[in-house]
């Protein structure tokens, strides 16, 4: 075990050492730098953007490295600099400029979205904030149309799948992101959201809708910070996704998770960790296909 790990680690070390040499040889043989080669080898799509991103990230130049992580990149300026730095003759390599511009827009757009998401997550739910409280009451109205909430703190919240009498303590590390996502689902796809809530309410085989919703917020958040969601966002039409585009993925995950849960035929709620993990692996396997976008029937506009 240890020995094979040692070999694997040595091999990676070797690759790191050999990489510049290999790049240099390829550059001499093909007459093209790596970025340029990628624009010839790949068609537009998530795979091309990811390869460009990787090449930038592993670049020796700190300016190029920065382009892979920046969330407010001046794309026009960056394209000009890369062409200059890499001595690319745009009259010969006619697709290069356009391809690089597109990839950089997607990369910067994704990084910007990640920063936005983190901003929302970091805002803790506060009972002292009237805006937060209003959102919470709105959540009740959307998921329980026609049923009056007896008081702000009461056992009725359990019907929505919160843990106790005050939902405020359930948002925890996901902050306002958790509440915003539950709200978005019901606001945008009311039928689908109410359907998921009603299915989840099965007394024996169901789950606690709201806290599972917050768990799914965490699942999506982790996929985002581990950059697994790039496949989806690099395949979208709009290279600068908004929070709404992020919440759309959440609606997909909530609806898919509900189906997945019942397909697994759980004995009871104690199987949640197992099924959640299986679901997470399933989503990751989908994201390995470069053509994937996470969308379902009710989201096709």
């Amino acid at each position: 075990m240890v020995f094979s790990e040692l070999i694997a680690s040595l091999w990676t070390q070797l690759l790191v050492l050999l990489r510049p040499m290999l790049k240099w040889i390829l550059r001499k043989v093909t007459g093209k730098c790596q970025l340029l080669r990628i624009t010839y080898e790949e068609q537009p799509g998530s795979k091309q953007t990811k390869r460009i991103e990787k090449s930038l990230r592993e670049s020796k130049s700190s300016a190029l490295k920065e382009l892979s992580r920046g969330d407010r990149v001046d794309v026009d300026e960056a394209v000009k600099n890369v062409i200059h730095q890499k001595d690319i003759v745009v009259d010969i390599h006619t697709k290069f400029e356009e391809t690089l511009r597109r990839c950089l827009t997607y990369i910067s757009g994704f990084n910007n979205l990640e920063a936005l998401v983190e901003g929302h997550r970091k805002v803790k739910y506060s009972t002292a904030n009237p805006e937060h409280e209003a959102k919470l009451l709105k959540l009740w109205e959307l998921y329980k149309p026609g049923t009056k909430l007896q008081s702000r703190q009461c056992a009725q919240w359990g019907e929505l799948g919160f843990q106790g009498n005050d939902p405020a303590t359930d948002f925890r590390g996901m902050g306002m992101l958790g509440l915003d996502q539950l709200l978005y689902f019901a606001e945008k796809y009311g039928d689908e959201a109410l359907n998921a809530l009603s299915k989840s309410s099965h007394p024996k085989h169901g789950f606690s809708f709201a806290i599972v919703g917050i768990n799914i917020t965490e699942l999506q958040y982790t996929l985002m910070t581990k950059r697994k969601l790039r496949t989806h966002f690099y395949n979208l039409h709009n290279p600068r996704p908004s929070m709404d585009a992020y919440h759309e993925v959440y609606c997909y995950l909530m609806s898919e998770f509900t189906k997945f849960w019942f397909k697994e035929k759980p004995k009871d709620i104690m199987e949640f960790s197992r099924i959640r993990e299986k679901f997470r692996r399933h989503i990751i396997s989908l994201l390995k296909d470069p053509k994937t976008t996470l969308k379902t029937d009710f989201q096709q506009q």
């Binding site: 075990m1 240890v2 590390g173 709620i269």
Partner: protein
């Protein structure tokens, strides 16, 4: 097998395993405590639906810690995890004064469980970092802990989020299990 693995095998005897059950009301801080024990990031916690389990190495012991969700709906399932428990860790949100009575009631019921008879209990008076937290001795009085005579017990003030007090508590856990297992 590589030389390194061989050496490692000669050096250490297999760790003694302990089964530890982590219980308490919802929002008491069980999962945060679990993550703190495993030296993991505590800033992305969500409510536990079902349970979490982690194995943590500590002073020659392998602690298998079962963190079971604390919401009312899940509490009936706690009993499914009692078997072979070496030690119970009970976590209390010291700032949740409204539910001190409820948490005391749940603890009392646990201590009456046959399958947990004689199992030592470590009570973490968590969230001491909050200004309105009850002191550990107040909780001990309120819950009448001094009446526990059928097992070893201890109350430890802590802040699972900052980690303060956690190490002291775990040292007691290991010491107590160690003397029991010999």
């Amino acid at each position: 097998m590589g030389l390194l693995a061989l050496l490692r095998k000669l050096k250490s005897s297999p760790d003694k395993e302990l089964r530890i059950l982590l219980l308490g009301l919802d929002n008491a801080g069980k999962t945060t405590l679990l993550k703190q024990l495993a030296s993991e990031d505590v800033s992305h916690i969500t409510p536990t639906q079902g349970f979490n389990i982690k194995s943590v190495q500590s002073s020659g012991f392998k602690l298998n810690v079962w963190d079971i969700g604390g919401q009312r709906r899940i509490r009936p399932y706690w009993k499914n995890y009692f078997e072979n428990t070496d030690l119970l860790i009970y976590v209390i949100d010291s700032a949740d004064r409204k539910r001190l009575e409820e948490t005391g009631e749940e603890l009392r019921e646990l201590l009456e469980e046959e399958k947990l008879a004689g199992v030592p209990v470590m009570i973490f008076a968590n969230k001491q970092d909050l200004v309105n937290a009850c002191a550990a001795h107040e909780i001990a009085e309120g819950l009448n802990l001094n009446s526990i005579r059928d097992r070893e017990w201890r109350i430890q003030p802590c802040s699972a989020i900052s980690g303060e007090g956690v190490r002291d508590g775990i040292e007691w856990v290991i010491k107590t299990c160690n003397s029991k297992k010999k």
